[in-house]
């Protein structure tokens, strides 16, 4: 479904990605693991073209997308839930969700999707009229994911959704990710919480300073000594 081929990308003189290739199959959950600063977010940014790769190609459903502006990739069905939630603090919860549907034409379906998101996250329905800035961290993360769903993604890019959340909330978020996936949305999941991520994913890549150092099915990586030592706490 999504294919990155030998992607290089820089921030000015900082080389963030040094020849990354990866593949995401339809309906799967693919995890992208790696330490802080490895370049995980940068990969997601090149997919949505917030960061333009200076060489390599990105193909989505057979179509080159590496020159599309960020707002255009959304219309192709690729939706990114950025790191650190990034909700609009001065908009209400409802408005945050609504703006997720900005690029859509099927307004009748949007109404149904509101229902779906509210079912998935009842707390958002409860706090519909509150400014997003007043939510707790976990609620904001739910809102960010909900807002992403309102864009009707075929591929959802999640950047560290569990970061800074209480363990119980992490469980909840991962359960919901699985549920979203089971309804037919493909997921590329960036995580530092490798154990959790591997437990729900089909395939995973390990990134080290801009290079893919390991890849395999979740089970393979869980049994890989090197990966266990570095990312799974021994």
């Amino acid at each position: 479904m999504l294919e990155l081929d030998n992607i290089y990308a820089n921030y000015g003189s900082v080389k963030a990605l040094k020849g990354v290739s990866l593949n995401v199959k339809q309906n799967s959950i693919v995890a992208l693991l790696g330490a802080n600063g490895a370049g995980k977010s940068s990969i997601l940014k090149t997919i949505t073209n917030l960061l333009r790769p200076h060489s390599g190609s990105i193909t989505f459903l057979g179509e080159r997308i590496d020159r599309l502006k960020p707002e255009k990739t959304v219309r192709k069905g690729i939706v990114m839930v950025p790191e650190g939630r990034q909700v609009f603090p001065e908009l209400t919860v409802y408005e945050n969700l609504l703006i997720g549907s900005y690029a859509r034409k099927d307004r009748a379906q949007v109404k149904k999707d509101f229902k779906f998101v509210y079912e998935l996250f009842p707390i958002l329905h409860e706090k519909m009229k509150d400014p997003a800035g007043t939510l707790s961290g976990g609620q904001m993360q739910m809102l960010a994911i909900g807002r992403g769903l309102m864009s009707k993604p075929t591929l959802l890019l999640l950047d560290e959704p569990s970061l800074g959340l209480a363990p119980i909330m992490v469980q909840e978020i991962f359960r919901i990710i699985e549920e979203i996936n089971s309804r037919g949305t493909t997921i590329l999941l960036v995580e530092q919480n490798a154990n959790m991520a591997l437990s729900i994913s089909d395939y995973a890549y390990v990134l080290e300073t801009g290079i893919i150092s390991n890849e395999g099915s979740a089970a393979e990586l869980q049994n890989n000594d090197e990966v266990r030592q570095s990312y799974l706490g021994g």
Binding site: L51, P70, V79, F88, E90, E95, Y102, A103
Partner: protein, 639 residues
């Protein structure tokens, strides 16, 4: 009681217009972090378009009104695109000032400088409600304003683009991730702003006369309304506008009509000093809370001083000049003026070049110097040299106050405050006529030092030359001393300077004092050389000219400041004093320089040199590409 009701009603009528203009400013500010100082002139321009449609094409009022608004929206979108290359806050301020000049001049050329009268929409008889006299036109103003505000409210609350515009002002990158075209949203933002300005212009015009200055004072009122309302809160701004209108009315009915226009300025200062976030504004989104990295070091230019050879050449040429043109008093007179403006420019440069703060009030400082000197010589009996020095000191004290104010304010607020000062001082001079002789102005004594009376252009030339040289020597010494190094450090990076232990506050205030001192000296010389001063000599327009002269010459460089002063005096001579053509020239040059050659003519030469080199060596020397998007880049792109 009745009078109070009437005052409040009138205040609301005018206050609703303040609110409209303020809303137009704030809408753009919220999503782009830019303040458009040309906004009032744009409104004036589209009002003139409406006037032409009415008076020349005899369109019905509604059609002319809509035509003017369409024009206004398009003009605003054009301005937005013109401003795109401007990166920093200060360069946006300067670029919109350049547009201010250009729009004024073009309007002057097309419609002339004389006021015309603009028809009222409803000419019906006034009627009385509970004893309050209302004209149909007043009600139309209020109604239209209320409708517009309601529409805006609904747009921002329920329209997807409206919500996206609010989102945009909170987080640009994430908004683009929602599938919203940032470019389109900015265009809508500016178009709405243009429409609000256009409506205000057409509603204001019938209340006075329509001329190129229609909205100049209005802009200051709108700023005050916006600041009063916290600058970023729409309801706050509306309340700010209405309450300013009412308060002005109260001041004018119960205290003094003369104080009405300066009241806005006084209020602006008080609010800024006491509660800069306004009535309803939030502290977190306070105006001008910008990253200091982009703030400083932007007006980088050549070395501040002059080489020995240049100094010698300057000295020889300037001493030889009066002998060459001894018989030509016309040329000598302008050479004297050039010298005076050089002193002012060097002073202004201290501020702009080394602290990166823009002053729109230097004409007011010049006025303070000029009036102090004239009053001290003629009413107190000071000898000329003492009055000259005192003028410098008095103006320096005003600079001290401004400096203290500036400490608390960001560059944007400071620009607004100095705009206020620049607008208020000529008005105070007009109104305070026991001392200033108001509109008629004052005659200045012929300067004399001891028994030596300086009454020919030839003698004045040497007087001014001597002071210019002293100014240069003093400046050079300041810049070479420890203070000067601190200034340079300050210019290159505020954070860096702080790390070096430079006490920012002290040096910023000092820059204001020095800058104002020189402005005062220049003002005194101006008064005694020209022999006559009146408030019209010190309008905000002159401050704009000073800013352009500085940037055209090159910022943070003494020769640059001098070059600019020469340019500023010479150009109007070549164009036979045509205000329009020289203004277009100044404005145009300023715009091009600030957008493409931020280091002034000096930088311009450098770029020219680079292009030359490139032509000859085919080694490409990359010029910086145009900006991606206002303020923040949507995306970090790599080569």
């Amino acid at each position: 009681m009745l009078m109070l009701g009437q005052t409040i009603f009138n205040g609301i009528v005018i206050g609703s217009l303040y609110a409209l203009v303020a809303l137009g400013l704030v809408i753009v500010f919220k999503s782009t972090n830019r303040i458009n100082f040309a906004y009032g002139q744009m409104a004036m321009f589209s009002t003139f378009i409406g006037y032409t449609l009415l008076a020349k094409f005899h369109l019905p009022f509604m059609l002319a009104f809509i035509g003017a608004l369409v024009f206004s929206a398009l003009l605003a979108v054009l301005v937005r695109n013109i401003l795109r290359p401007a990166k920093s806050e200060s360069s946006v301020i300067v670029a919109t000032l350049a547009l201010y000049m250009i729009f004024t001049a073009v309007a002057g050329i097309i419609w002339g400088w004389d006021p015309v009268s603009f028809p009222q929409v409803f000419t019906g008889e006034p009627f009385s409600v509970f004893g309050i006299i209302m004209r149909p036109n007043d009600l139309f103003n209020i109604l239209l304003t209320v409708i517009l505000m309601l529409m805006l409210f609904l747009f921002f609350k329920f329209n997807l683009n409206g919500i996206a515009m609010r989102a945009l002002s909170q987080n640009l990158v994430t908004t683009s991730l929602m599938g919203a075209s940032v470019n389109k949203l900015f265009t809508i933002t500016w178009a709405i702003s243009g429409i609000l300005g256009g409506v205000a212009g057409i509603l204001v015009a019938p209340t006075s006369f329509l001329d190129t200055n229609l909205m100049a004072v209005f802009l200051l009122k709108a700023f005050t309304a916006a600041v009063l309302g916290g600058f970023t809160s729409y309801p706050g701004v509306v309340i700010g506008g209405l309450s300013l209108g009412v308060m002005e009315g109260l001041v004018s009915s119960y205290i003094s009509t003369d104080l009405m226009d300066t009241f806005a300025f006084v209020l602006l200062i008080i609010v800024l000093l006491i509660r800069p976030e306004g009535i309803l504004g939030k502290r977190i989104r306070m105006l001008g809370k910008t990253s200091s990295t982009e703030e400083s070091g932007e007006f980088d230019s050549s070395r501040p001083g002059m080489s020995m050879r240049k100094k010698l050449a300057f000295l020889i040429v300037s001493i030889a000049l009066p002998f060459v043109f001894q018989g030509n008093t016309y040329i000598l007179y302008f050479a004297v003026l050039t010298g005076i403006y050089m002193i002012l420019a060097i002073g202004l440069d201290f501020l702009v070049g080394y602290t990166g703060k823009i002053s729109l009030g230097h004409a007011a400082l010049l006025a303070i110097g000029a009036y102090s000197s004239v009053i001290l010589t003629s009413k107190v009996g000071f000898p000329f040299w003492l009055a000259l020095l005192s003028a410098g000191i008095i103006t320096g004290l005003v600079g001290l106050l401004l400096g203290f104010a500036a400490l608390r304010l960001s560059g944007l607020y400071l620009a607004i405050v100095t705009l206020g000062l620049g607008t208020a001082v000529p008005q105070i001079l007009l109104k305070w006529d026991e001392v200033t002789n108001g509109y008629t102005g004052l005659h200045a004594a012929i300067p004399s030092i001891g028994f030596f009376i300086i009454d020919t252009e030839f003698e004045m030339y040497f007087l001014v030359l001597a002071i210019v040289i002293v100014t240069i020597i003093v400046t050079n010494n300041i810049l070479r001393s420890k203070i000067g190094r601190a200034f340079v450090a300050l210019r290159d990076s505020e954070a860096g300077a702080e790390a070096m232990g430079v006490q920012l506050a002290k040096y910023q205030i000092l820059a204001f004092v020095i800058s104002a001192f020189f402005a005062g000296i220049a003002g005194s010389l101006y008064a005694h050389v020209v022999g006559f001063i009146s408030p019209a000599d010190f309008s905000i327009w002159n401050s704009l000219l000073f800013i352009s002269m500085l940037f055209i010459g090159g910022v943070a460089s003494i020769p640059g400041a001098m070059l600019g002063a020469a340019f500023m005096t010479m150009v109007p001579i070549f164009f036979a004093g045509s205000k329009s053509i020289s203004a277009i020239l100044f404005g145009g040059a300023l715009l091009i320089i600030i957008l493409f050659f931020p280091s002034g003519l000096a930088g311009f030469y450098k770029v020219g040199l680079n292009i030359g080199k490139r032509l000859f060596s085919r080694n490409s020397i990359g010029l910086k590409g145009p900006a991606e998007e206002e303020g923040t880049n949507v995306a970090t792109r790599n080569k």
